[in-house]
Amino acid sequence: MELDFSILSKFQYALRLGLWTTLKLTVICIVLGCALGFAVGLARTSRNIAVRAVSSAYVEFFRGTPVLVQLFWIFFCLPLMLGVELSNFTSGVVALTLYMGAITSETFRASLKSIGPEQFDACVALGLPRNVQVINVVLPQAVLRAIPTLLSNCVSLFKESALVSAVGMADLMFVGQNISNNTARPVEVLTVVALIYFVIAFPLTRAVSVIEARILRKLAI
């Protein structure tokens, strides 16, 4: 068979639009998902048993079901239950944020655990109020220790985001699939789509190890 990559030049614009949707969706869900994940991570260490139960149930549910099922549920069932129409993009953001929140809460929980009890003793001895303890002592240390794993979580989300094509969102994967169907050139088109994902994800995975070494040196852990 003969490969002809030149056909792709015609679809440059469409591919770029798809990539833009993928990136926008990923970045928004990273920001919202990390914030949610930190809050849930804290909630899971709470002394209140109800708070612990609810947050654990959420995490276990989202970790224990396929992302694709979660996506379908939020795209098709949530609007029925709420009685409101959600745009494709909003549904995608909700679904992937909930997924990301569950994943990163585990990352934050581990990093919160690694902060020794003597740090809390120091906070008490210095009379730091609870909110200062969380914002100035716990959060920065938890984030620093979590950064390498969080970056991996972000790369995973970026790749998992391709699933939204299954519910009709025009992301990079969706556009690629359409072009490949219309041109009957799946090898060229899907190879290029895979390469685009790889070119973005690979430097990030490499960055993880570099950043990890730096943070470990700084915190001497």
Binding site: E118, Q119, D121, A122, V124, A125, L126, G127, L128, P129, V132, N136, V137, P140, Q141, L144, R217, K218, L219, A220, I221
Partner: protein, 260 residues
Amino acid sequence: MAMSFSLPLVKMQALHKSYADGAIQVLKGIDIEMKPGERVVVIGPSGGGKSTLLRVMMGLEKIDSGSVTFDGKPYISSGVKESKTVIDMSVRRSIGMVFQHYTLFPHLNVLQNLTLAPCKVRGEAKAKAQDRAQTLLERFGLGAKAKAYPAQLSGGQKQRVAIARALMLDPKLMLFDEVTSALDPELVGEVEQVILQLAAQNMPMMIVTHDMWFARNIASRVIFCAGGVVVEDGPPEQVLGSPKEERTKEFIDRVFHINQ
């Protein structure tokens, strides 16, 4: 005048403390009165409850029963309901503590470690807190380390920073729990010098240490604590030199034997 002179700075009454829901009785009725300007060194065998005593004083542990007053004000008491400990937060703020394992904040540099509490707790202006911090660091021979992170400091330097950090809040009482135990022998001196410096300025303190040379030099009073009670209490010459109690004598002999 005579009245305020006799007023104790700290008054512990019948302090009881246990861990694991009463399974491990650690403090079994501690009564200690400490006058202003006194430097009390607490010695005793491992597991005798010395750290627990200081942690209770810092408000880090609940108590089972008993009470502590500070400067004439109620500070710690066991509440009406069992397992409730009432701690007066404003009193707690006038007590500082340094721990065995330098508990500096690893993500903040030395200057930020020192200014965090004054700025956040007392609302002090950042520039003013930094000025005070720099002065304090210079006094402790750490002037050049203001921008360093804890991981870049030696154990002795870290411990001096920890002392400076506690002093930033102008405590009326300092608690030191084996602050030189984790240090290499050659770094012990620099930390003890800083504490001796504070002693020369009449800072009231309670010190737990296994270093008998330091105990002799810093103490205005020595308390031997074992099995959760005060066994002997007196001037350093007495308790360290010619103890009255048999248990104290045994302990002192053993420790001096190890130290030599």
